[in-house]
């Protein structure tokens, strides 16, 4: 099981308050995860896996927490 969060303008793609829990196949990537959840990858700017920045091609494992962000900033 992977815990997925989507924030800001991506939040609406996960109807359960921007959260989802997903069973994954071994070797699945962040990109696979996004496509399965209908998160538009062209709007994804930052992905974090367990609090560390990763890329779409990186893999995910059972127990991971994955967070998707669009372009965010401020100060």
């Amino acid at each position: 099981m992977v815990e997925v969060h989507a924030f800001a303008t991506l939040k609406k793609h996960l109807p359960d308050g921007g959260k989802a829990e997903v069973e994954i196949e071994p070797g699945a990537t962040v990109d696979d995860l996004a496509r399965r959840l209908d998160i538009p990858v062209d709007e994804v700017k930052i992905v974090m896996r367990n609090g560390r920045h990763v890329e779409l091609r990186d893999t995910v494992q059972d127990g991971d927490r994955v967070a998707f962000f669009p372009a965010v900033g401020g100060g």
């Binding site: 924030f7 303008t9 939040k11 709007e43 974090m48 609090g51 962000f69 669009p70 372009a71 900033g73």
Partner: protein
């Protein structure tokens, strides 16, 4: 018409217009305030004494027609909080009106012969009127603004709250927004106390009939303006339906929390269990749900096309605060363990009324919590502390002195400051580059001084791992230099997001400056000219007594592990010393 310097002497109550001397002619905004402070203020002077000055300067393009998001006003002087040079800039109405009066800068100097006497200064095209301020003396900025607009509607109001009158080190300078709210603050570093020490409660700026801003090369200016505007309009962050306009700057709460870099409970953790409750997403949801006077995406000055500000209403739709933005939200929220957004909003309004910088005040309350005055998470108790400030009690005065004074009063060791100024909303142990900026900036701990968060967290201007230190000293210096330039333009620093990613926007920004001033500069001059400003500031601080030992993070960060990544500060001191080594080599 050539720009003038307006010099206002509070000892003699005289105002004179001077030509801009050659040595300052190239500069505006921060570049100009820092040049004037370095030339005219004795670095070792007492910040509240007669030798200090308050310098106010709009940027190069401020006041020009249709330069986007360019209403910043720079305030400079010697800081009571850091003891070093300070530039703090704000949005609101003042920059454009000062510029349209043909002024490059206003220098406020001297002190009234009667130390109990307060003045209002009314600045128009015809000069300066010195008025008795007894009608607004002792009043909060929520009352000062409307009182002054009764007589001078539509003007810019620059003012100090009661904390500035008390000359406390965390007193900021308020500028009114287009609806005459206080709260666009030159907050950091205690410049409100420097203004208070001149005996000035408020400055009204009326630009009616002013000459406007001369543009040397209209074609170049227009071309630059178009390309800059285009880059802001198309970048995913700053476009009309992008994250800044939709959620405000507090959109950063969730990503910093996810990255383990959201300082929590006085910098004892990098994640906050109630982050979602105080996030930009939640704020926008509540504004839309509550309706009434609430506004998502509000412009803090005319001509802003980013509009990251907001108006946050209570449950009945009545305005509670403007703006609930990231730093204020974090400082008075996560860093105090408070997850109640309504209480945070109320505290922001207290800060705006009393004249307190929200970052320093939030950190101060967190220190008081750590020192046992109240519990972390006690929102109602935190709100009551503002009564102490308002009532001018000894406790209120200590809190108004900021983090270091309060930490001493309560025997606290975990003190997140550099050069006397407390850290903003990014944990340096989890985001190393911003820690280098905090440690080395001439301003003290200041995120805006070199915002490496862009590549370290947001993936803007490249992508680098926030937890590593390699290359971060150079990264910080480049950002500090580019920022010193942008702070001189009058543009909001947020134009950096699009122009770091879109080369035409960067070149366009430089062309607008070249177009207004007639200087032959391009995008390639941004960093070198920014370094000129940094050098002036750095040398001022050296003359004030600062050494490399002042370019260090607080000791606790070297040995306390920060959860959730369990990281310490690991950047070698040699890397910190390298950031400004060029000042004595070039």
């Amino acid at each position: 018409m050539a720009r003038k310097i307006l010099r206002i002497n509070m000892s003699t109550l005289e105002a004179v217009y001077e030509d801009v001397p050659e040595k300052w002619a190239r500069w505006a905004g921060r570049g100009l305030t820092s040049a004037i402070v370095a030339d005219e203020v004795e670095p070792t002077c007492h910040p509240l004494g007669p030798q200090n000055k308050l310098v106010i300067a709009p940027g190069w393009v401020t006041g020009t027609p249709a330069a986007p998001s360019s209403g910043r006003t720079s305030f400079g002087g010697k800081s009571p909080l850091t003891g070093g040079i300070k530039e703090s800039n704000a949005g609101g109405l003042s920059g454009q009106k000062i510029a349209k009066l043909g002024l490059a800068a206003i220098i406020l100097e001297g002190m009234p012969a009667d130390p109990g006497k307060w003045y209002k200064l009314i600045i128009t095209k015809d000069g300066v009127e010195f008025q008795d301020a007894s009608d607004v003396e002792g009043k909060g900025m929520l009352e000062v603004g409307p009182t002054l607009w009764d007589k001078y509607p539509g003007t810019a109001v620059i003012g100090i709250g009661p904390t500035g009158e008390m000359k406390l080190s965390n007193a900021g300078i308020s500028v009114n927004d287009p609806e005459n709210r206080p709260g666009r603050y030159a907050g950091r570093g205690g410049l409100g106390a420097v203004m208070g020490a001149r005996g000035v409660k408020a400055i009204v700026v009326d630009d009616s009939g002013g000459p406007g801003v001369a543009i040397a090369d209209r074609e170049k200016f227009d071309s630059g303006r178009r390309r800059l505007t285009q880059s802001i309009s198309e970048h995913d962050l700053t476009k009309r339906d992008g994250a800044l306009a939709t959620y405000g700057t507090a959109v950063l709460i969730n990503i910093l929390n996810e990255a383990g870099g959201l300082p929590t409970r006085n910098f004892s953790s990098g994640s906050f269990e109630h982050a979602a409750d105080i996030s930009g997403e939640k704020i926008t949801e509540l504004i839309e749900e509550r309706g009434g006077e609430g506004v998502v995406s509000h412009a803090c000055n005319p001509g802003c096309i980013i509009k990251c500000s907001n108006v946050f209403p209570d449950e009945g739709g009545v305005e509670l605060a403007s703006a609930v933005e990231y730093e204020s939200d974090w400082a008075l929220g996560a860093n105090c363990g408070i997850g109640d957004i309504d209480i945070i909003a109320k505290m922001i309004t207290q800060c705006n009324d009393l004249g307190l910088d929200t970052i320093e005040m939030g950190n101060t309350i967190a220190i008081a919590m750590e020192g046992g005055l109240l519990e972390f998470g006690d929102g109602e108790g935190a709100l009551k502390l503002f009564d102490e400030v308002r009532n001018k009690t000894p406790l209120g005065r200590i809190l108004g002195q900021g983090v270091e004074a309060t930490a001493r009063a309560f025997g606290v060791y975990r003190v997140p400051t550099v050069k006397g100024q407390s850290m903003p909303a990014y944990e340096p142990r989890a985001v190393k580059g911003i820690g280098i900026t905090y440690a080395t900036s001439p301003m003290g701990a200041d995120h805006t001084a070199g915002y490496t968060i862009a590549p370290e967290i947001a993936g803007v201007g490249g992508k680098v791992d926030p937890l590593t230190e390699e290359g971060k000293a150079d990264l910080s210096l480049t950002f500090q230099a580019a920022t010193a330039f942008i702070d001189s333009t009058g543009y909001c620093l947020f134009i950096a997001f699009p122009i770091l990613d879109i080369a035409e926007g960067w070149a366009g920004m430089a062309d607008t400056v070249a177009g207004v001033t007639g200087m032959a500069i391009t995008g390639d001059d941004v960093v070198p000219m920014g370094k000129e400003v940094l050098k002036v500031e750095r040398l001022f601080n050296e003359r004030a007594g600062f050494t490399s030992e002042d370019d260090r993070p607080p000791e606790f960060m070297l040995h306390e592990e920060l959860p959730p990544h369990n990281v310490k500060w690991t950047v070698p001191n040699e890397d910190l010393d390298q950031v400004y080594a060029w000042v004595h080599e070039d």
